[in-house]
């Protein structure tokens, strides 16, 4: 959207001078902050990393501190798709389907080596990274990552969410990105 880019330009003007733009950007910031602290994950846990995700939910790490403890197994309600574990070629279409069903704004974390790059499983049946089917925002290395690393990945997404413009996802770049994955 051309409007949103205009807003961003206005934001560079000195504070308080340009009324509407100032308001719009502060508003965007507020919503960004709101989104940041309310990222509901869709735990797409297929294997080992899912078990570490359980540990992340557990008392010792407590993902709820970030406001993300409500797992939304329905893609409609989720904000981040946390793909944890190996995605086989048989599973690939399912991941894509789930991603397509999610409502904007949506983010994707590839947790662990398998989801990010296939990891140790360089085999005929394993997808070599989910970025072949859906656009990935944050990669978390490790096999499986420690819960600290998963939280780290979540915080990276939080940074994205806080700094993203409200309508960035209508932008032509984003549309092109989706189109390159053949996602409507």
């Amino acid at each position: 959207m051309s409007e949103s880019t205009k807003d961003i330009q206005l934001a560079e003007a000195p504070d308080g001078i340009s009324g509407a733009g100032f308001f719009a950007t502060s508003f965007e910031k507020v919503i960004g902050l709101a989104r940041k602290h309310s990222l509901w994950p869709l735990p797409f846990a297929t294997s080992c990393c899912g078990i570490e995700y359980m540990a992340t939910m557990g008392a010792n790490y407590d993902i709820s501190r970030f406001g993300s403890e409500r797992p939304s197994f329905s893609p409609r309600q989720a904000d981040i798709l946390m793909v944890m574990g190996t995605i086989a070629k048989k599973m690939g279409p399912v991941v894509k389907q789930v991603y397509e069903q999610m409502a904007e704004p949506r983010w994707v974390i590839a947790v662990g080596a398998c989801a990010s790059s296939g990891g140790i499983f360089d085999t005929y049946s394993v997808l070599q990274g989910i970025d072949r089917v859906v656009p990935v925002d944050v990669y978390v290395p490790g096999c499986p990552p420690r819960p600290e690393q998963i939280l780290d990945g979540l915080m990276r997404v939080q940074d994205l969410a806080a700094n993203e413009s409200l309508r960035r996802r209508d932008s032509p770049e984003y549309q092109a990105l989706l189109a390159s994955y053949n996602i409507k």
């Binding site: 070629k89 360089d122 085999t123 005929y124 049946s125 070599q128 072949r132």
Partner: protein
């Protein structure tokens, strides 16, 4: 009766004849012998139903591929266990890859169902009489049977792999 390799083998040979039970060895404490496609179904049924043996637990089965052995390229390994006597037994059947047909065991053991589907999926062994012989682990439209030795392990779509390095 205490089951030993000798008396079990004797009993089986007495039942099925020397021709059908060959090559009995004992590689790791588990007696292993070969048999053929005609006998295997009856043999396993006999082992299960025999009052004395009670070898009535199908532990596992798997296919093996020996590309070098002429007309014995494929092998089906059955491992049985008598829980009562704590006695294990391994049976192998060799057959040519041009004719990968085996009788099904699904009528004897319920567990054979998926194991046979797995063997079909991996090696293309066709089990006659299987109620639902389709691929189990791989996608249905896969064109080859991946565990056969001639097929590569690697996913050919991988991009970040550098083959220049020594090693494998």
């Amino acid at each position: 009766m205490e089951l030993t390799n000798e008396n079990v083998l004797g009993k089986i040979i007495a039942q099925f004849g020397e021709d059908n039970i060959t090559n009995a060895v004992n590689p790791d404490g588990i007696m292993t012998f070969d048999t053929n496609r005609q006998t295997i179904h009856e043999l396993i049924k006999y082992l299960r139903d025999d009052e004395e043996l009670q070898i009535s637990f199908l532990t596992t089965m798997c296919g093996i591929h020996y590309p070098e052995q002429k007309d014995k390229e494929l092998c089906m390994m059955y491992q049985l266990h008598s829980l009562r006597h704590n006695y294990r037994l391994r049976i192998k059947v060799y057959f040519p890859i041009s004719d990968p047909v085996m009788p099904t065991l699904t009528d004897i053991y319920a567990t054979a169902n998926w194991m046979e589907r797995e063997a079909y999926d991996f090696y293309g062994i066709i089990f006659t009489g299987h109620p639902n012989l389709i691929r189990i682990l791989n996608v249905e439209d896969m064109e080859y049977h991946p565990m056969l030795k001639q097929y590569p392990l690697e996913d050919q779509t991988r991009e970040d792999k550098v083959n220049t390095f020594f090693g494998r």
